[in-house]
Amino acid sequence: MDKVGEYLGMQIHFDDLDRDNVEFFRHCGRHQLHLQRCSDCLLKRYPPTTACPYCGAPGVTWEPVAGHGTLYSYGEIHHAIQPAFRPFTPYLLLLVELDEQRNTPGEDDGLRLQGNLVTPEGELGSVDLIERVGIGTRLRIVYKDLGGEFALPQWTIDEEAEQPEPWRYPG
């Protein structure tokens, strides 16, 4: 596949062979979070895979997921490796636990997606924004269009949700 978009100056090229991931980002391009669901054990999974990581079965359907979750853990990157991210430090690397399928199939298992903290418009967050976020913060998904039919799923503070006092790295 030719170039499908661009993000922070980085050219994006998808390989048609990578069909599971391409499908995931195609749903995101429609501003819908869809995850694969196993036809055998009926568990949803992330990231996309050809077989079910819970039971090994190949059958799959793509199912819509609400895109709300709680911050499960995070890193705050001050030293960016990639030049594209250097203007945006510090930025947050988020691990967001979706409301769906919590503590499933085992205790402490869940659907945990990675992403950055962004503004509601999908731009990387300012220092003011990231200082409001910690473990426990309620987040909602937003989509950063990449040009064309794909988008990058990202996370922003869910201003409509009741927010607990988040846990943040001390100091």
């Binding site: 100056g9 994006i12 390989d15 853990s73 890193g75 690397l93 950055n116 100091g171």
Partner: protein
Amino acid sequence: MSDIDATTGRHLRGKYAIVGVGETAYTRGSGQTTRSLGTEAVRNAITDAGLTIADIDGMMSYSGNDSTPSPTIAGDLGIRLNFHMDVIGGGSSTEALIGIAMGVIEAGMCNAAVVYRAMNGYSQVRIGGTGRGGVGLSAAGLFDRGIGLSSAAHMFAHTFMRHMYDYGTTPEQVAMVKVIHSEHASSNPKACYRQRVSVDDVLNSRMICKPLHLLDCCVETDNATALVITRIDRARDCRHTPVVIQSVVGRCCKPRTDMHYQSGPISTAAGQYAKKILWPNAGIGPEDIQVTGAYDAFTFTTLLQLEDYGFCRKGEGGQYVSDGSTRLGGKRPNNTSGGHLCEGYTHGIAMVIENVRQLRHDVDDSCPLGGDGRRQHTFDYRECGCRQVKDVELAANMGWGTPAYGSAVVMARGV
């Protein structure tokens, strides 16, 4: 799946030994190729064993960045190989390859094997940084580089941060790993960083990726490092007291190594699984071990592994690494060379080399040499002094690949 039955005759406890260790200098700018470095380290290890090139017929290496493969190194040293294998991988490799060496010798595929790592980890291919080609993104790449996730510090941050949340682990406790390893390095003439540092030095160093400051991260270096492994009966003819392999675990995994954050409490490392193989196979437990080598790519990796292999209770790693237990002179010193945080980054093998020397009672510290060429250890652990652990008989090394997989070995002083 059933647990591994360590009580049968199938396992090889006490039947293999590390007989030679060797390395190059640890530098930030070797001025040599990995081929040249590897040749030097392998030759040093063979010489250390008291063997000749004719005694070596197996060779293995690993690499996650740059390297030169084993047939090339062997050829340059005049070694004709009956077996070789060069594998992909970083910090979980050394102990795993020791196990593989035992297996291939047992299978009659070769007689004595060298395991080495050769890299210009600072001047050629740096972890996560220079040397990674291109600025383009694939679909798979959007999951990591698309969100600015491109180094080990970024990859592991969720695990470390969640450990602080789950157990109240503090930045000051974590910093003590660096403090103690810097104390050890101050008596290691080979170490890149021999300066002792304080908790404040760590916490005041610039933030790399919260919760990791600069001094929570290891020092990238250029080096090559090597071990020689053979059967215990052959080991007894070698130069040094053999260091006997009691138990080994290779690249034991948590569920879903690529996206392990879906599974279980994420503030654990693979040691929680690996210890169920390591200790039964060794026939002893963590309480019997007198010196540890817990992989310190970061301060936090040491803490997590010591905790998950059972050297303290789960969640009490912060206490364990900060109460003096892991200091020379403490209950169970860790990384007496100064480890990757201070001696230099080698993807784990140097910590095994250090513990081999510990078990020989001949660590290369700053103590004076005696007439027999061996150091006269003072057991004075002040700066520029001794780093030999007194009367040590048992050591354990824990290699870290990611939170999701690791390797380990238990070694004993032979007779």
